[in-house]
Symmetry: C2
Subunit: 341 residues, 2 copies
């Protein structure tokens, strides 16, 4: 039905090799180029990717595994990656892990079996090696949002982000500051680290009850926020460490009848619709989604160009989150707050 290179051979009298070369950007005489180009137009010829795949062992597709497609944070990254890959002729196969490590494993295995040429992972927090074992060594893997040593990845400087968010609060008089972070992931733990650094700088003692590790989901943060709100000595401010957790935390406040910034200040993460739909607007650390997505695409493309894994040098791209000020943080008098608590 569809034309093949044999049809082009018939039309041009040239050999399959020459036509193949033309198709793959090799050296072909100008006059022959023209002949072939003409035949291609005339016959509406398109390379048959399946045949090409069989011989090259490449599918020109990359797989992507995300914890949850419903989160605009992931959706947004997918968008930019997909767009870049498409331009390079690569398609993107996505798999949703439903915030479940088991599923994540299966997804990676599934995509490997689908012969993707590369893999972009936004890990849920699982160990590196478990995953690497699932994927043939020739298939490059990169991570997004999370950093895995020895593997290329795109992240922000999470310690810094945590530090800046927390400093923003301490500068406004807050001393009892809650944090809701992802415990099983370096990203979350680094944001916590930044938080600790900011406290230390002000000479504020850490308090375990104020630091709540969750799984990073809306529900997890909902419970975490409730926990903080039910404390005898409530924090005057809370730092939520990702997009979905902003949501859970705000929902918990709504349900418990607390209002920000009057009852409690809040600073969140990621500027994707949520902060700006809220009233008052949420103050957040905004990640450069487009840059991160584009970078991820470029890195995986680069790695896929090197068929020999030895030629692929792991590189970390570290971006910076920018504080986007809303009206969710109140300036308070530290001593006053201490008395009231």
């Amino acid at each position: 039905m569809s034309a093949t290179i044999k049809d082009i051979r018939k039309k041009t009298g040239l050999s399959l090799a020459t036509i193949s070369k033309y198709l793959n950007g090799g050296n072909v005489l100008p006059e022959n180029r023209e002949k072939i180009g003409g035949a291609i137009k005339e016959l509406h010829y398109h390379v048959n990717d399946m045949a090409r795949s069989l011989v090259t062992s490449q599918t020109r597709s990359v797989g992507m595994v995300v914890p949850s497609m419903v989160s605009p944070f992931h959706g947004s990254l997918i968008r930019y990656i997909e767009s870049e890959l498409k331009q390079a002729g690569y398609s993107l196969m996505v798999c949703d892990s439903m915030d479940d490590a088991e599923q994540e494993r299966d997804n990676i295995e599934f995509l490997s079996r689908k012969n993707v040429d590369g893999l972009v992972l936004i890990p849920t927090g699982r160990k590196i090696q478990d995953i690497l074992d699932l994927v043939p060594g020739r298939v490059p893997i990169i991570t997004l949002d999370v950093k895995w040593s020895g593997i290329s990845g795109v992240t922000i400087d999470n310690v810094r982000a945590g530090y800046e968010a927390t400093s923003y609060l301490t500068e406004r008089g807050h001393r009892r500051i809650g944090i809701i972070y992802i415990g099983k992931q370096c990203t979350g733990r680094q944001r916590l680290k930044g938080y600790c650094k900011a406290l230390a700088k002000r000479g504020i003692q850490r308090e375990e009850v104020l630091e709540i590790a969750t799984d990073g989901t809306v529900d997890g943060a909902y419970e975490a926020m409730n926990q903080l709100l039910s404390l005898d000595r409530r924090p005057t401010a809370v730092f939520t460490c990702n997009h979905d957790m902003n949501i859970g935390a705000v929902m918990a406040m709504n349900d418990a009848g607390f209002r920000y910034p009057t009852d409690l200040s809040i600073i969140g993460f990621d500027d994707l619709l949520i902060p700006s739909i809220l009233n008052p607007r949420l103050t957040v650390l905004e990640q450069p989604m487009e840059e991160m997505g584009n970078a991820a695409a470029r890195i995986i493309l680069e790695h896929m160009r090197h068929t020999d894994p030895a030629d692929r040098k792991a590189e970390q791209h570290v971006y910076r989150a920018i504080l986007h000020e809303g009206k969710s943080v109140e300036r308070i008098d530290p001593e006053e707050a201490e008395k009231n608590s």
Copy 2:
């Protein structure tokens, strides 16, 4: 490197044909089944999809085109579709059209060229035929959210949803009701139709200034809401017809200093985090995302099973949106409202 059926032939002494049959569920003697099964385990054999594709002309992948990956409405549908397809051994290639008809066209073309076995579209509103011409006739297409005649699809009863949303408002005394809908899409226009029906039932005159057609984006709804808010005779309630438009409308209210439900009542669409993070909670029509996603997956799988397009009968699956009550609609006195306007 990886084992092939030839290796299995060597191990079992059986012919390629028999092994292939085994792989594809044909009739093979029990003892031979066992032999082959054993060899497969021993050699860690996996079918090479690329080789299989070349001869069957099937890639076991389906393409999906969405207006925007950032919207949880689309993300959510993708999630459920992907999950069902994966179970059936199909991968999902997604493309984001960035709310642009040009891009949508390119995406469909791109996926066709990637030899997807089927296509799931959430159209932005473009004409049917333009798109059908881009895709080989053998590739089944279905739509989601939007209904295209002659093509299978999954939707909700939009007229009914529009009617119920609007009736909910009229029953609470509202007579001047604004609507922000998608103009270029049947989905939006049907919700408008339901709106009109509900007005008519109450004997309320339609007013053009209250009916604003937009492109369905956050920004579009933002402007639309501003337009409504600046009217001399403002509506007492507004109906926003999809997830992203809820956001735009609420943002506009926030920015203009209006509060719901006191200054204005609002009823929205889709229950995906936004309604419940808002305070007061948004009253919305909730679509059964999981059912819709699953249905879409089942339909496209069914269509792909029939290699002859003639065997595929177009079917519409119509679900129902359920009103999920929040606190964004105020009960008012119609006559009082009339006097004040």
